[in-house]
């Protein structure tokens, strides 16, 4: 495979190290986490969700998790996109506006209502919308929902994406991308923490 293993690269796992050996015992998980990355960022069909949009959403989602090698990687990926460099600053501004801590949100009315926790409902700035456009604005608002308050997600959020020009297939890939990055960022963070303790 020509692309380096992204989790190993971002977690700083060197060939022959103890963590390399542990990861090698879950080869199918390791290879398919990588295939997930490749199918999201080097898809065979980007017709419903462009590569530029994928890079922009990824930079936003990983930036919302705080500064890290993962956030830097996707920011650089966006900057490297032919049309991406002009978006980097606008995405950084939206990350700053959207930063908070989660998960929060509401449960269905009933015994869990006592656990409801209010928090930021992120909406993109007018300046951001003028740079990023309607489709990306809707995607970033949805991504923020999934990052911080996934239990608030509702059918109305699907309607908002459809109204902004997202197809059913595009919505599935968008959800996969946000959800996958939530996984990847945590694996990298966890493995880095373990490597640091052992250093």
């Amino acid at each position: 495979m020509s692309t380096p293993d992204i989790i190993d690269m971002l977690a700083g796992i060197k060939p022959g190290s103890a963590l390399d050996a542990i990861r090698a015992r879950r080869l199918q998980a390791r290879e398919n986490a990588q295939k997930s990355y490749l199918s999201l960022f080097e898809p065979i069909d980007a017709g419903d969700f462009s590569l530029l949009e994928r890079a922009a959403v990824a930079a936003f989602v990983t930036g919302l998790h705080g500064e890290s090698p993962v956030a830097a990687f996707y920011r650089e990926k966006l900057a490297a996109n032919a049309d991406g460099a002009r978006l980097v600053e606008a995405i950084a501004a939206e990350i700053a506006r959207g930063e908070t801590s989660g998960p929060y949100g509401s449960f269905p009315a009933g015994p869990l209502s006592v656990e409801n926790a209010a928090g930021l409902i992120y909406r993109m700035s007018a300046e951001g919308k003028s740079v990023l456009g309607t489709r990306l604005a809707a995607a970033l608002e949805h991504a923020h929902l999934l990052v911080f308050r996934p239990r608030d997600a509702a059918s109305a959020d699907m309607k908002a994406l459809l109204a902004a020009g997202w197809s059913n297939t595009g919505i599935v890939t968008l959800s996969q991308l946000v959800a996958f990055l939530s996984f990847q960022a945590r694996v990298v963070s966890g493995l880095r923490a373990l490597a640091a303790v052992n250093a």
């Binding site: 199918q28 998790h65 998960p103 239990r151 963070s189 923490a193 373990l194 052992n198």
Partner: protein, 192 residues
């Protein structure tokens, strides 16, 4: 859009249904590319998988990641504790559907159904004994945004008897459910 369902309002180990908010692919339209994405052909009967198979390559890679993290028990963490990490993550993120499936699995493999039920009823602060508390706490720290997992979690897992390979299983299992929860919660809702 699907019609009204009968959503559960509490965490449960009962079997739940799940209804999509957007259109799954009709079974009759599935091609060999889609069947490859489904991995198991029987999943063509599931509304959830016929929705996710709109992007077959991502679904296939995700499914194979999932299977190895949870089912490859040649070594590493016992299956019950991988399922505990999944259930705790789902409880913390608020995914009633995922929590129901993985709480059920955790009960099956651990034979500790009442402890699992207390995780669901009381939340991730429930006292489940030292080893399980360490797994739950690590899962919660990983699920927080910003991610709060650190040396204290690793120390607690080690004190509870986990070696590094088992700690990596906790990291993978809990992290994976931050993926799964966000798919189930964003694309549809559970039904009783």
């Amino acid at each position: 859009m699907s019609a009204a369902v009968n959503p559960p309002v509490a965490f449960t180990q009962d079997e739940l249904g799940w209804v999509s908010w957007i259109e799954p692919l009709p079974e009759a339209e599935l091609t060999e590319r889609h069947f490859a994405g489904l991995v198991d052909r029987a999943r063509a009967k599931s509304e959830y998988f016929r929705l996710l198979v709109r992007d077959p390559e991502v679904l296939e890679a995700r499914t194979r990641t999932d299977k190895d993290i949870f089912y490859n028990v040649a070594d590493g963490l016992p299956r019950a504790e991988r399922e505990l990490a999944a259930a705790a993550t789902s409880r913390y993120n608020g995914c009633i559907y995922c929590a129901s499936v993985h709480a059920r699995f955790a009960s099956t493999y651990s034979k500790r159904r009442e402890d699992v039920q207390r995780l669901l009823d009381e939340g991730t602060g429930a006292d489940l004994g030292g080893r399980w508390n360490a797994v739950v706490k690590a899962s919660v720290a990983l699920a927080a945004t910003p991610i709060a997992f650190g040396p204290d979690n690793i120390e607690a897992l080690r004190s509870a008897g986990l070696d590094d390979a088992e700690i990596v299983d906790v990291i993978n299992g809990a992290s994976f459910f931050n993926w799964a929860n966000r798919l189930m919660l964003s694309l549809g809702e559970p039904s009783k």
